[in-house]
Symmetry: C2
Subunit: 335 residues, 2 copies
DNA sequence: CTGTTAGCGCGTTCAC
DNA sequence: GTGAACGCGCTAACAG
């Protein structure tokens, strides 16, 4: 902390007014006459005064920052989302506090820690495993769920995962694929669940069968994609195309296949989900479902801010559309 | 904010002691008798009391959080670093405040904003372009530079970039390469500069020439790597190997080459820098210099915490070693 | 439009 | 070992 920073009283003294006036001149300029306002501003400049947020926050019963709860900060998936979030929070004067729920042995407890200590004026939750509504303290700041979470009665910003899956399947179908496999996300993960369900509905609508052994259990990691590749190779009747619930897994899947001498897309078509940056530069470039991650962060940020301003817990949820990005990893099946 | 959360006075009343005792029992348990301490603890449990950090921070003249200044939050390069940072900060009781210097029109001003407002008890700067020492306010909290920044008289945790470059060149040399190109990082970026210099020294030590047109200007992005590929292809006398200052650019470079029908590593060997997760799964898997990003974050975190505890501005800087990861993108040149 | 007064919730002297 | 009183720096309520 700095040695001696000017306080509001110093400004008041220099400007020849009371501290209340200084406070008003800074927070609600309209409430004070222009002449005195100028005097105050001059005094501020002269003294090098900077407002003490801690004191202000104590008085206002706020914290000045918004908390983002991320399941795994190391996952680059969140980079753009957080960037989007940050880009709307800073201009609004909020700090962005980030907590990695994975580091904690009890994330649930951590969430309560933040809530009950009033450490955040608003919370954005990205961890789909986190909240059980019953466990939330009765009193809590505005919360936005930025992950798929259907049974949960809080405002959310979600991506249309089911629709994305459906688009992916339709794309494969249109090119002639009738035998379609899937690499799932982690068990119990809501996003993964939606994508799985979306795929199943699409398959059913197209009258396509999908034997169980064509569904490979993954966990969004590249390694799990590579593991799925091993299973695919061990199959007698291999699907001609695979829809991966994440681009990471698609990378791992393609990589392992190629290292084993299998040609993508000739021997098997692959379609991903997310459109992470690297997949454009793979060989073959990955066809995928784009999900606008920066937008997710921005919307989530706007929502919490609005909720804080309106002092409400409710806000219409948003559904962010997805989009098919066609590249080179999907072709018609061998005949 | 919650409706009515128990304050320290409530606890005091229930325990039948003064607020001062409660405060001590919580902050300096040793100073109070065991019996009263227990009474206080019970009262805390009964009332559901949680300490108000804002009030405590105001009193203690601290903020309770540490600020990370990141040049571009959207860059996945920082994910692991921030995860490492977070993993040491939370156990120590600090919040992690993140600011994206790219969002600001005047990052320099932003830094001062944080410093002068006492919004952070410590600062970790990842933005190599940020600080000019002269511009720092005289009084400021402990700052750690987690980016290469040689001329700067502040504690830093750095990666041995020059050494990494040297290892890369040596590796290429050992396999028989004598014509080695380079894709640089952004102009003026200190990391990029170090890698470039490290390479030049290594080249000189090995008595190797490197014509200017073998050095491609990049900016760490995949697209710039792809652009470098175009330039490489346009060359009459192409280098047989290329050392890229980042894995991202190496991805873009290899991708563009492959899309143009050029074989890596047969036609050109490529070596990267960073060892980002995806490169293991590329085809060919990328040989690269590993830089332990999580460690960088952890060390930086430990350093600020120590500096805060010791109330000092100085701390021995750390140099984190790098390591060669051999994969399949480098082979002996065609003869 | 402005000044006075009274805390926000805690940590910390200084007595006892 | 414990309590009383004060103040961290600011803003909101009430007068005038």
């Amino acid at each position: 902390m700095q040695a001696k920073t000017a306080k509001i009283q110093d400004v008041a003294r220099i400007a020849g007014v009371s501290t209340a006036t200084v406070s008003r001149a800074l927070s609600n300029p309209d409430l004070v006459a222009e002449s005195t306002r100028n005097a105050v501003m001059d005094a501020v400049a002269e003294s090098g005064y900077r407002i003490n947020h801690t004191a202000r926050n104590l008085r206002r019963q706020r914290s000045g920052s918004i908390l983002a709860l991320v399941p795994n900060l190391a996952n680059p998936f969140f980079s753009q989302i957080l960037a989007g979030l940050s880009s709307v929070l800073s201009p609004a004067g909020y700090g962005l506090l980030i907590a990695d729920t994975q580091t904690d042995n009890d994330p649930q407890e951590r969430l309560r820690h933040f809530i009950q200590n009033g450490l955040a004026d608003g919370i954005v939750i990205f961890d789909g495993n986190l909240p059980k509504q019953e466990l939330l303290p009765a009193q809590h700041p505005p919360i936005v769920l930025a992950c798929e979470w259907v049974d949960f009665d809080l405002p959310s910003v979600r991506v249309d995962n089911a629709k994305g899956a459906q688009i992916a399947i339709q794309h494969l179908y249109d090119l002639g694929h009738r035998q379609i496999g899937h690499i799932t996300g982690p068990n119990g993960n809501v996003l993964a669940e939606s994508r799985l369900q979306g795929m199943k509905s699409a398959l059913a609508a197209l009258n396509l069968q999908q034997p169980d052994q064509w569904v490979f259990q993954g966990d969004y990691s590249m390694d799990s994609g590579a593991f799925a590749a091993k299973q695919w190779m061990a199959l007698d009747n291999r699907p001609t195309a695979v829809f991966s619930a994440s681009d990471e897994m698609a990378c791992g899947f393609m990589g392992a296949l190629q290292h084993a001498g299998i040609d993508v897309p000739r021997d098997v078509s692959v379609i991903g989900f997310d459109n992470i940056e690297v997949v454009e530069h793979l060989t073959p470039a990955l066809t995928t479902i784009r999900q606008p991650r920066r937008l997710i962060g921005q919307h989530a940020g706007q929502m919490v801010i609005k909720m804080i301003d309106d002092a409400t817990m409710r806000c219409p949820s948003e559904l962010i559309p997805v989009e098919l990005i066609i590249r080179n990893s999907v072709v018609a099946p061998k005949t």
